[in-house]
Symmetry: C2
Amino acid sequence: MSDEISAPVVGMVGAGQLARMTAQAAIGLGVEFRVLADTQEDSAAQICTRTVIGDYRSAGDLLKFAAGCDVVTFDHEHVPGEHLADLERVAEVRPGGAALRFAQDKLAMRDRLSAMGVLAELGVRCPRYWAVSSPADVTAGWPIVLKATSGGYDGKGVWICQTEEAAAEVISHGIGLLAEEYIPFDRELAVLVARSPKGQGGSYPVVQTVQRDGICREVISPAPGLDPEVSLRAQRLGLALAAELGVTGLLAIELFQVGGELIINELAMRPHNCGHWTIDGAVTSQFEQHLRAVLDLPLGSTTSTARAAVMVNVLGGDDQDLYSRFVHVMAADPGVRVHLYGKRVRPGRKVGHVTVTGTDVEQLRDRAWRAANYLSLGTEEPGEEPVEEASQ
Amino acid sequence: MSDEISAPVVGMVGAGQLARMTAQAAIGLGVEFRVLADTQEDSAAQICTRTVIGDYRSAGDLLKFAAGCDVVTFDHEHVPGEHLADLERVAEVRPGGAALRFAQDKLAMRDRLSAMGVLAELGVRCPRYWAVSSPADVTAGWPIVLKATSGGYDGKGVWICQTEEAAAEVISHGIGLLAEEYIPFDRELAVLVARSPKGQGGSYPVVQTVQRDGICREVISPAPGLDPEVSLRAQRLGLALAAELGVTGLLAIELFQVGGELIINELAMRPHNCGHWTIDGAVTSQFEQHLRAVLDLPLGSTTSTARAAVMVNVLGGDDQDLYSRFVHVMAADPGVRVHLYGKRVRPGRKVGHVTVTGTDVEQLRDRAWRAANYLSLGTEEPGEEPVEEASQ
């Protein structure tokens, strides 16, 4: 019989909206949750009592932060690899540096994935890719996709080049680049899985994602009309990659669907925009699931609580006053779930998301887009154009 | 076009688990939430960045707290009535003192309710009651229920007396008392409604509650086998009382069911144990709903997201180490939702609750009781005895 409360301390490096929603999930678990924030105004720092201010690029700040934690995890992939090794000497780091490398370095990820037998077994492939250091490396096959090997997010660090001149301009900045074949996809899918150090895995339903200018705008769960066989392959892929890469915590895999073919676009090892719908639409939210996984607790049920869920991101418009527009949205649709991130509004910045759950996907999409557009713009635009079902 | 973020500041007096779960809901709304706590270790103070330490019985502490808030609301009913009037001069107080009086003073509540025509219209009544000041006031009709007119909670302040001697012993303590007829009820029900200052009202489904030793142990939503006509009367009662008493925020009404008859037991004007299931089982949780109501925002949907939900409170056992028992519960039932309050374990103290949603009520009850018993005791006892359906 213990006299002490033994709940462990989880520290998350980074204090954006992912950390904010993880902090919210930690409350119910009774787990002490800390964030390493740039400033007290960061999205998560506003609402997390155990906020430490520091620089995630500083080994000293990271080590000081980790010293008070049992487990360290991440809100983003930008902690330098050499600091991860230092961290691992003082705390459990989940995901560990050996896994996280493949979310940080796209060239390393491509090399590692291409060598995996499981991809061929599942009929999944990566785009053709190669390292780029000079304009001579990209001369044909336009359009070509250039990607910064590290540091990108929300479309930053990705350039679709139509000409040699455009490619040369990107290459002239001297950052590490790889080139990839451009995939004319039918649609984008994502699979989100969790894996614990003990090796337990769990997959959420495969979702369809809609990006605009490289930013995730909409997620539909489950992906409408997806062939169950393709869905199963995507979930198997998620679980297999999490195991082969030794991921602990969440792994999100962004996929292109071309007919029945699945092509791997990107990996992330943290809560991910493709899983925000789980707060309102699944038994266990991705944020609680990430905590359970990094704490090596048994995973929660990934079952959906409704037939379908649609999540739309709220991007900042011109007007700071998000709150007053909230009233209209609440009155217009009492069933819409709004999540605000406490961030200052800047045009195009993700400042929140809305989720609607139910049965009729087109109705859900219409409701979610109306709410998100009103929050962004103060006008109730019609829903986005219909999502085309992939040809099977 | 505004340049300022205009989200208002809500302050809650008291920092128990109700404030903790309200703080959790405030995160998504992007509303600044403060609590007035006794100590930094209080359940809500642990996780709320805007915690003010102070005494809710001190007018000075209350006024200092209220000065930074747009709206003040409550986690309990124990703020002295004279201080409420002071508070109302510096902030919006919701519910206001004129309404809150009827949750604070059971004699005033009985007098007020008994004078309402709507009770007779709805075929609802109060128990027979009378003020008590000496043993001569209770001489016949055993058992008789004695209640402290104010200050009770979780069964404290309620005595079921079988004899004159037992009653005399209670009366000898000199506290304000009323006597009520003992109601041999079929079962207990509760209805939870929200009302905003604008007058919008919304009712959650009527639930069955099971109390042990005056403490709520289990809530089943909706109340199994409840005649739809009785359910409708209970919801109408909730909305009518909220309007007649001028309640802003939540109003919970605990009811005795005797056949088709409804008898009013208690009122509370705050988030209530009978509504904890809404976090996992309704579109809008009672905690978000309370915030929306006190902020005069449009109310959220009160629709259930599953056919049925069962909530069981986790009471403290002998062992502090709740967390290590958590692992077993998570592994045994990945679908159970556990909510811990961060409170030190003391025998019989409410330290958390579990909720299970689905279709088969008896299965849900079995799962919820297993999880709660294991968290309390470290042994997996079978579910509680079956709940009898009320005779209709």
